[in-house]
């Protein structure tokens, strides 16, 4: 596996760090972040998606601003036939908003095909997963409110998480050791520009701050419409013209 991965450098992470505001909607931000990334990895397009649609409309196992989990948000996105962009359904920071009716076929929608769970309590499997795509995890973040920089090594619970975030990479610092690169949703003013580096290769299987206890990711297959993306279509057309000119000659 690579020694270092940073999905931001590969253009698979929306550059603007989002802010959940006074809201327990971390699960929605983690879910959209992971879907934005797998969509970019699969189709080449980086599209910022709507957390507000999840917060307002996903009422199966999630509870809007009170809390939830990215795992159920992925199920909602599958059953909803996709999720719209945050331009179409912007974030309001308002928990009284009702689910807006969106004409799904008439607007830009990003779809996924399902979700899976990384083998739990296994940081090596989590590393392998992050080498393939950003992964949502639960972490124990109660003591991270005033984190500003460096590799976080606690204090925190290693027995259960309370905050949903996305791991977008990993690496090793020469003086601080191995770390997970985590994208948070507390705005760019928190941590290292909105990101946290959390101790990796912890001596307990749950990972530092329970990071390896609930790693979940969305799945997206290449669809036939993706195969006919504008660039592929141009190539096919060029090939057809060359074939015709050869026949005519």
């Amino acid at each position: 596996l690579p020694d270092e991965v940073d999905w931001r450098k590969r253009g698979a992470v929306v550059p603007r760090v989002k802010t959940q505001g006074d809201c327990g909607g971390c699960w929605a931000f983690a879910a959209t972040g992971a879907v934005e990334s797998i969509n970019q990895i699969t189709t080449g397009e980086l599209i910022s998606l709507s957390e507000q649609e999840l917060l307002d409309c996903d009422r199966t196992d999630n509870f809007g601003y009170i809390g939830g989990g990215a795992v159920w948000a992925f199920d909602f996105i599958v059953s909803n036939d996709g999720i719209v962009t945050d331009e179409v359904y912007p974030y309001t920071g308002n928990d009284t908003a009702a689910c807006k009716a969106i004409e799904m076929p008439a607007t830009r929608v990003v779809t996924i095909n399902g979700r899976e769970v990384v083998p739990v309590n296994d940081e090596m499997s989590l590393k392998k997963a992050v080498a393939h795509q950003p992964i949502t995890v639960m972490t124990s973040a109660a003591n991270m409110s005033d984190y500003t920089s460096g590799v976080y090594k606690g204090p925190c619970s290693n027995l259960g998480g309370d905050h949903n975030v996305i791991i977008v990479g990993y690496g090793t610092s020469s003086d601080e050791g191995d770390y997970w690169l985590i994208r948070n949703s507390w705005g760019p003013g928190w941590g290292e520009g909105g990101y946290l580096r959390l101790q990796r290769n912890f001596h307990e299987p749950t990972g530092k701050c329970s990071v390896a206890m609930a790693p979940v990711y969305p799945i997206k297959w290449k669809s036939s419409s993706d195969l006919l993306s504008p660039s592929v279509f141009k190539l096919v057309l060029l090939f057809a013209f060359q074939l015709i000119s050869l026949v005519l000659l």
């Binding site: 983690a30 809390g67 499997s125 109660a142 984190y147 920089s149 976080y152 309370d162 905050h163 507390w186």
Partner: protein, 96 residues
């Protein structure tokens, strides 16, 4: 004392920087006490060379730990939701 004056100045500066206003009676005084506790914790942490990470003031610096937890930590999970583990990313020796 100088240190009390410094804390008060820091709090005023922090209020402006974070666009905070308190409407409730005595709320500003209550928040200042919490702010001072958080500031003390940050200073103690940062002065300990055994810590690898740094802590600092930010938008959460006027909240108690309980308030922070109840407002911002909404992550929920149950065992059932992570029971259907896939083997796609299971690590095997020699994986590249």
């Amino acid at each position: 004392t100088n240190s009390q004056r410094n804390e008060a100045e820091m709090f005023e500066h922090w209020l402006v920087e974070n666009g905070k206003n308190y409407n409730g009676l005595g709320e500003k005084e209550r928040r200042f006490i919490v702010f001072k506790d958080n500031l003390k914790r940050i200073k103690e942490h940062n002065s300990d060379p055994n810590h690898s990470c740094q802590r600092g003031l930010n938008q959460f610096s006027d909240l108690t730990a309980d308030e922070f937890r109840s407002i911002y930590l909404g992550g929920k999970m149950d065992k059932k939701s992570v029971s259907d583990v896939a083997l796609r990313y299971q690590y095997k020796e020699g994986d590249i």
